[in-house]
Symmetry: C2
Subunit: 255 residues, 2 copies
């Protein structure tokens, strides 16, 4: 409000909403229609269009719909644009093997943190897929690292009101977050113990670019009982080595 937002193209906007819904879970036409608040026939046509172009697929003849393989084409393009995705993969793999936990490389996008590379831990019980996930920066280890190292001042506008809460331990007070970030900047690493999901711990360190700037964060995450506070020194050490490795490879790649 105030700012005159140009109108969105309605049907395209709805189609994208459908894609976002299907990214969460596979659904049927009726269910989609209900979620969008439109008639079945409208939803049916939109889905048909998406399907005809390979962006969604239906399982079986009269089955439910899910994201299709045609989507990989776009993912590949993004990955190609971001050298760090390519370069990050082998580094993640090696770290995941050494630590036995899931390792991710993440970038900052406004107030969200996006995971762009991932390798699953060897003891991958209930392994979750984080690739492409947008996570709230104030409730993740990677996010805190990325926020802690951005140029001062850029943080000011963001994080004003109370922050979204996910568990009892989530930092919701902007001032508390600022304090935490200062500490992260001093320590050179961040932790996130059950602040996003109960039972989920993660530890992250920054990846430095050619200058002083931080270009990404690299993190390890795992169940609370395994990735305990006692392991912080060991994990941080491994992550830092991986970060240096990644930084080196990036420097090599970027002409």
């Amino acid at each position: 409000m105030g700012e005159r937002e140009p109108a969105l193209v309605q049907s395209v906007d709805r189609a994208i909403t459908i894609l976002k819904l299907l990214a969460r879970a596979e659904m049927g036409v009726t269910e989609i229609a209900a979620e969008l608040g439109v008639h079945k026939s409208t939803a049916s046509r939109l889905v048909y269009t998406l399907q005809a172009r390979g962006l969604v697929e239906q399982h079986g003849e009269r089955g439910r719909f899910s994201i299709g393989m045609g989507m990989l084409q776009f993912a590949g393009t993004v990955a190609g644009q971001l050298d760090i995705v390519q370069v990050g993969n082998p580094v993640c793999e090696e770290l995941a093997e050494r630590l036995g936990e899931t390792v991710n490389v993440a970038l900052l996008d406004a107030t969200d943190t996006i995971n762009v590379s991932q390798a699953l831990g060897t003891s991958a019980v209930a392994a979750q897929n984080w690739i492409g996930q947008r996570t709230p920066s104030h409730a993740t280890a990677s996010g805190k690292v990325l926020l802690a190292f951005i140029p001062p001042g850029e943080l000011d506008g963001l994080f004003v009101g109370d922050l979204a809460s996910y568990t009892a331990r989530t930092i919701t007070d902007p001032q508390k977050l600022r304090d935490a970030l200062k500490e992260v900047a001093e320590d050179g690493y961040a932790t996130c113990f059950e602040e996003l999901e109960p039972g989920l711990h993660s530890i992250a360190v920054p990846v430095f670019g050619p200058g002083q700037d931080v270009i990404a964060a690299i993190s390890a995450s795992g169940p609370a009982y395994r990735l305990s506070k006692k392991r912080i020194p060991e994990v941080v050490e491994e992550l830092r080595q991986g970060a240096r490795d990644l930084a080196g490879r990036m420097a090599y790649v970027s002409r």
Copy 2:
């Protein structure tokens, strides 16, 4: 024709076309409009809608547009659905390191072959990104492997007329393709020497599932002068080992 095709939702169809265009190269609004055959204003609105939802991004304030990081979310979903993407990554990495060439895992989708996992070779000169790429099965090593091992009869409907040609060496005669596939089935590997792109060689082997069925192909590709015919035995041996490794890991994953 004959078959009554339900009508597509026009604006959604156009939006998807825009995405496919941007997947090839970044473009400006005017250029997009010309390509679509619509007015600038129409293209502008479509792009704005895509941008508002994070599917495209613009470089700089008045810069050109490209696929946005929001796409990664969908990629993650697809990757999560297909266990083989996750599991394939480390196998690719290891093979790429041993062979020094780019290694891919690919799946069959109708007559196309889609690359789902990739690791760049160490000597990655002019490294191309194949992830998510749809390639014609009859002109790739992975594709030939996948076609050679599908249940007999399923092939009949497809590949009837003359096949699309990409170089002078592309197999365009359906009968010749059938002969070649039979040979692939006997040898247990396929090659593709400059049949898709001049100067591009690739070698592929099948990845077997729990039964006799082939669930994927794994391939190495590189410049003709480096990935020569003489290296076939060595490369095939390495690939087969990787394929066994991958099959083993898949068996472990799929409950």
